[in-house]
Amino acid sequence: MFADLAQMVAYIQDNQDTFLELLTEHVQLTAVSVVIGLLIALPLAVVASRIELLAKPLTWLAAIGQTIPSIAILGLMLPFLGTGFMPALFALTIRAVLPIFLNGYVGIRSTDRAIVDAARGMGASDAQLLLMVELPLASPVLFAGIKTATVQNIGLATLAAFIGGGGLGDLILQGLGMVDPPVLLAGAVPVALLAMAAEVGLGRLQRVVVPAGLQIGTR
């Protein structure tokens, strides 16, 4: 086991440039897809929370979309967008929208009705209600959704290699094809570490971003 790890480190050192390039691609795929996903999903969540009629079909769509295997979403890009970075990004963005939308919607809807009533009664306009009350109160759940989307997309980005999207998945594919453990690990281990780092890092960030007074478990 450790021999393999040592060989992995050696491989990375020997191929630093390629490795860094792939690592960067991987991070780019993830970060950009999550940001765009947020920009799409949040307004959608707000709209869904306001318009009852849209809520059901949208959440339904989101839930069903989530069951389609990730590799399939990537594959379906082929006939329409071909191979490469952009199609992969497209697929990853679609995948990021789902958890962020669902969490955003649930977060906004679960705002205590009494607080909404009090805010309305005090004369908050719709926009003020959203910005001052609903979004801040939804932020813990929303943030959890962003975290889920990020960690999920780090994993997804490994599959991007299948449609030529680059990223660390390239190394995994190579390793599988050549049955070469160090190469395999050179792809897999950094991905695993990235995912864990994202989980922990975003967890810390959550503490900073989510308004005090809302932190669950702090007294």
Binding site: I64, T67, L76, L78, P79
Partner: protein
């Protein structure tokens, strides 16, 4: 889409392979996970570390985990099953703990007062009452497993993922759609079935708890 119509036996075969992969993994995960969950409720100090480990395992992306295990468990079903088990542990352990924690203290107290021993309480009170929540965890794990198992095809484990990967390498959209559709339907079917099972159990539990 045509593919499904043209090759029903193949679809069935692959679906069966897929179901087998998921079923075995979930059962093993339950056999390991539920006792682990029970253990945590008895030895609280274990909670953080155990949930932490299963959480970490869940975080590792599927392909990466397959790749890491592969040198040791080889190509084929074993790797995929091991990985699926490790993934499913988090949901099952966490829900087992939550389910047992949800049992009202008053009920436990009554049980104790009636003279039940620890294991009797566990078998007759805690587990039955925790069942709906545990089932919810199994449900979540199962749906996720169906999705992850598609990637397993890459390692020669078979299943509907085969169609998807085939389709990608051949540029055959039909196959991709067939595989995707099959897996989605399977996931939804599993979710629905387990949900109904949950409903039945909840009704029973509520009636019996009267």
């Amino acid at each position: 889409m045509r593919y499904i119509i043209d090759h029903p036996e193949r679809m069935l075969e692959l679906t069966q392979e897929h179901v087998r992969l998921v079923a075995i993994s979930i059962v093993v995960a339950m056999v390991i996970g539920i006792p682990l969950g029970i253990l945590i409720t008895r030895l609280r100090w274990l909670e953080d570390s155990l949930i932490g480990i299963t959480g970490v395992l869940y975080t590792v992306p599927s392909l990466a985990l397959f790749a890491i295990l592969m040198p040791y468990t080889g190509l084929g079903r074993t790797t995929v099953i091991v990985a699926l088990v490790l993934y499913s542990l988090l949901a099952i352990v966490r829900n087992t703990v939550a389910g047992i924690d949800d049992v009202p203290a008053a009920t436990l107290d009554a049980a104790r007062g009636m003279g039940m021993t620890g294991s009797q309480r566990l078998l007759l009170v805690e587990l039955p009452l925790a069942l709906p929540v545990v089932l919810a965890g199994v449900r979540v794990a199962t749906v996720a497993a169906v999705g992850i198992a598609t990637v397993g095809a890459l390692l020669g484990a078979g299943g509907l993922g085969r169609l998807i990967f085939d389709g990608i390498s051949r540029g055959n959209t039909d196959r991709i759609v067939a595989g995707a559709l099959g897996a989605s339907v399977l996931a939804l079917a599993a979710d629905w079935t387990l949900a109904r099972l949950g409903d039945v159990l909840r009704r029973d539990v509520r009636l019996n708890a009267r």
